[in-house]
């Protein structure tokens, strides 16, 4: 992946006396997450594959953001939550102003709780032949994620009555599938099938979280992450600060718009911000311009 230039990057050189007014306004105020991405709840994107990546930190705040963003926008969301329980997401979503239980009841949200599904598979009674568990690959010899893909496809297929906007698939997080015994190729195949089905056929969006690190020794994980980077339209890369922990700046986020994916001659656009996570929202600001410093 070619590294992007700083064209369009929102970095203010502290030496310059006169900064553009709009830039200064945005820097001094807190920037909303969706403003950074150029999308708004009234007008969500279509057919996009967004990769959330974190290194040396926890990027799950981005998952919470996208979940509440798409639900507020009126999209139908299929959330494959592999690592945490429903109540965890529900409590955070409430702080962000979204009621997950209500969305689930209305059919706007299809929630796959991986932990619960796994327990049902291993400890439950014999399953019905027509309804294989989405995590079928855990028991049995085949490491394929076909059952998981079928679950996603069926969840997001539009039904006659409901009139939600474009479908969205959200996965938290993909690296867990490797820990559970799925082969890297199987994971990539699953994502590929989901892209064809959700992004191309249904004009929906996919958002996937993965963990990675430069000095990681998990080669399978790095393989999956690098491959996904090549095929993503947008990459949000949350990194812990290289200098260590800081109370006012929790990390740095790199926003990479992969324009080169759609148009051959275009270069990727890279923007770098720092962020601080609070109880009910996340504030973004230009590097070195945290409120604590100004």
């Amino acid at each position: 992946m070619r590294p992007g230039t700083s064209r369009g990057s929102e970095q203010l050189n502290p030496g310059t006396a006169a900064a553009p007014r709009s830039l200064l306004q945005r820097i001094v105020g807190s920037i909303q997450a969706h403003e950074l991405l150029g999308a708004s709840p009234e007008r969500p994107d279509a057919g996009k594959f967004t990769l959330l990546r974190d290194t040396r930190t926890d990027g799950s705040f981005l998952v919470h953001h996208f979940l509440s963003f798409y639900l507020r926008a009126g999209c139908k969301v299929c959330f494959v939550a592999l690592l945490q329980s429903f109540s965890h997401y529900s409590i955070v979503a409430q702080k962000l102003g979204v009621n997950l239980a209500a969305a689930k009841e209305q059919g706007q949200l299809v929630f796959l709780e991986g932990l619960k599904s796994c327990l049902d598979l291993l400890f439950g009674e014999e399953e019905q032949p027509g309804q294989p568990s989405p995590l079928q690959f855990l028991s049995g010899s085949s490491g394929e994620l076909r059952a998981l893909f079928d679950f996603v496809r069926v969840s997001l297929t539009p039904c006659a009555q409901a009139s939600w906007k474009g479908p969205v698939l959200l996965v938290d997080d993909l690296s867990v599938l490797l820990s559970l015994g799925a082969a890297p190729v199987a994971v990539l195949d699953f994502i590929h099938y989901c892209r064809v089905s959700v992004c191309c056929q249904l004009q929906g969006n996919i958002v996937v979280l993965v963990h990675s690190s430069e000095d990681s020794e998990d080669e399978e994980n790095e393989l999956v992450v690098n491959s996904l980077c090549h095929h993503s339209d947008l990459i949000l890369w949350a990194e812990g600060l290289a200098t260590g922990f800081c109370k006012d700046v929790h990390g740095q986020i790199k926003i990479i718009k992969r324009l080169s994916l759609r148009q051959a001659a275009e270069q990727d656009q890279v923007q770098i911000y720092q962020y601080k996570i609070q109880d009910r929202n996340v504030t973004f600001f230009a590097r070195g311009l945290s409120a604590a410093v100004l």
């Binding site: 926890d58 799950s60 705040f61 919470h64 690592l83 945490q84 329980s85 109540s87 965890h88 409590i91 955070v92 702080k95 962000l96 932990l115 619960k116 796994c118 327990l119 291993l122 400890f123 855990l138 028991s139 049995g140 010899s141 690296s175 867990v176 490797l178 820990s179 559970l180 015994g181 963990h211 690190s213 990681s216 020794e217 998990d218 080669e219 399978e220 994980n221 922990f245 109370k247 929790h250 996570i277 609070q278 109880d279 009910r280 929202n281 996340v282």
Partner: protein
């Protein structure tokens, strides 16, 4: 977990005692006090504030301890977790492939339930704290004015208990709680259904046993008749070692690299849906395959690594003369909240000082790094 003000004080040794037996006798549990905070967390919403206050293991979560080289301190923490459970009246589930759980429970330290003794500890702590901290700042004098990462011991007298390692817990106290044991070599062979799990049979049997206890005893809320809901404390010793039938500690690549991570995932599911808290010790220093340790860390809520100085060059390094080991916090829980509980520092060391066992910022570790190589050799 280990942040602002993490000190509990214990009856102490004379200074410079370095024999292992002395350490064992004198070492008391700071973490037992921490572990006990979980029962005061009534709702999940409180978790973040309890953790921020330095509280221990939240209900429904897993604390993974990476064993120190000889398993000394990790074994002690394991026993304290169980001892605290007995004193609080929680049910216990003890699993091991090494020691029989009956023997583990016989070796638990005796609690100190006398209030006056606790007050004495508090006074002693304040005295030692002020005088010793002054003269120890000769090398790292720049750090002298930084806020100390210690709290007065009185803040912890409401939560947790103190223990005396030289005495064993009285058998009648042990028998006052309901406890379940799982000793791998005495368990019957697993059921055919587990064959399809694709998991190491020892782990599969343990999960089966755990699930059975949780549902039979009603820890998952399945029995609406039970009004008095208790907490189940689960302790699993040396998971991943060869005794469990897993070769992850002796081969790279292991025969089945996914057994351990699958086990942790299923365990996580069981913990999340029940009123239980779990501590696991893992001999991670034996695991060659670092990819597996990365995955294990991601699948645990809280991961703490212990590094003791016994037998290492740091034991004789004058900069570390007051410390007995380091505490590495690799992972902290992120539950029910956007923010995670980040502490000001993650470089912590534990030490024994007269009658005190403390965990503090290892300022000396940082100072050591600032010195030139010659200075380090000379111990200046």
């Amino acid at each position: 977990m280990l942040n602002q003000g993490r000190c509990t004080y214990v009856p102490a040794l004379p200074r410079r005692s370095s024999t292992i037996d002395d350490l064992k006798i004198q070492l008391e549990t700071i973490l037992a006090a921490l572990f006990d905070k979980q029962i005061h967390c009534k709702s999940r919403r409180d978790t973040a504030s309890v953790m921020a206050a330095g509280g221990g293991v939240a209900v429904g979560t897993l604390l993974l301890i990476e064993e120190d080289k000889y398993g000394l301190y990790s074994n002690l923490l394991f026993k304290y977790f169980l001892a605290e459970g007995i004193v609080c009246g929680h049910d216990l589930f003890v699993a091991s492939a090494k020691e029989h759980p009956d023997n583990i429970l016989k070796e638990l330290p005796a609690p100190l339930l006398d209030d006056t003794y606790r007050k004495e500890l508090g006074d002693e702590a304040e005295v030692v704290n002020s005088e010793d901290f002054q003269d120890s700042m000769k090398i790292a004098w720049r750090y002298q004015n930084l806020p100390k990462i210690e709290a007065s011991p009185t803040t912890y007298t409401k939560f947790g208990h103190y223990y005396d390692l030289s005495k064993k817990m009285p058998p009648e106290l042990c028998q006052s709680v309901k406890w379940h044991s799982f000793y791998l070599h005495e368990e019957s062979s697993f059921e055919p259904k587990m064959k399809a799990w694709n998991m190491n049979s020892g782990y599969a049997r343990l999960l089966q046993s755990l699930q059975r206890i949780i549902s039979q005893e009603g820890f998952d809320g399945s029995d609406p008749q039970k009004k008095q809901r208790n907490v189940l404390r689960i302790g699993i010793q040396s998971l991943g070692s060869v005794l469990w039938g897993d070769d992850v500690c002796c081969s790279d690549p292991p025969e089945d690299p996914h057994s351990l991570t699958k086990f942790l995932y299923v365990l996580r599911g069981l913990l999340r849906k029940s009123l239980s808290a779990c501590i696991i010790t893992v001999p991670s220093h034996l695991i060659q395959n670092k990819a597996i340790m990365e995955r294990v860390t991601n699948l645990s809520d809280m991961v703490v690594g212990l590094e003791s100085f016994i037998g290492s060059e740091r034991e004789t390094n004058p900069l570390y003369k007051d410390y007995h080991g380091l505490v590495h916090v690799h992972q902290i829980p992120r539950l029910n909240s956007l923010i995670c509980d980040v502490s000001d520092t993650k470089d912590l060391a534990f030490r024994l000082k007269r009658k005190l066992f403390t965990i503090e910022t290892s300022l000396f570790a940082d100072a050591w790094l600032l010195l030139s190589p010659n200075q380090r050799i000379l111990g200046l």
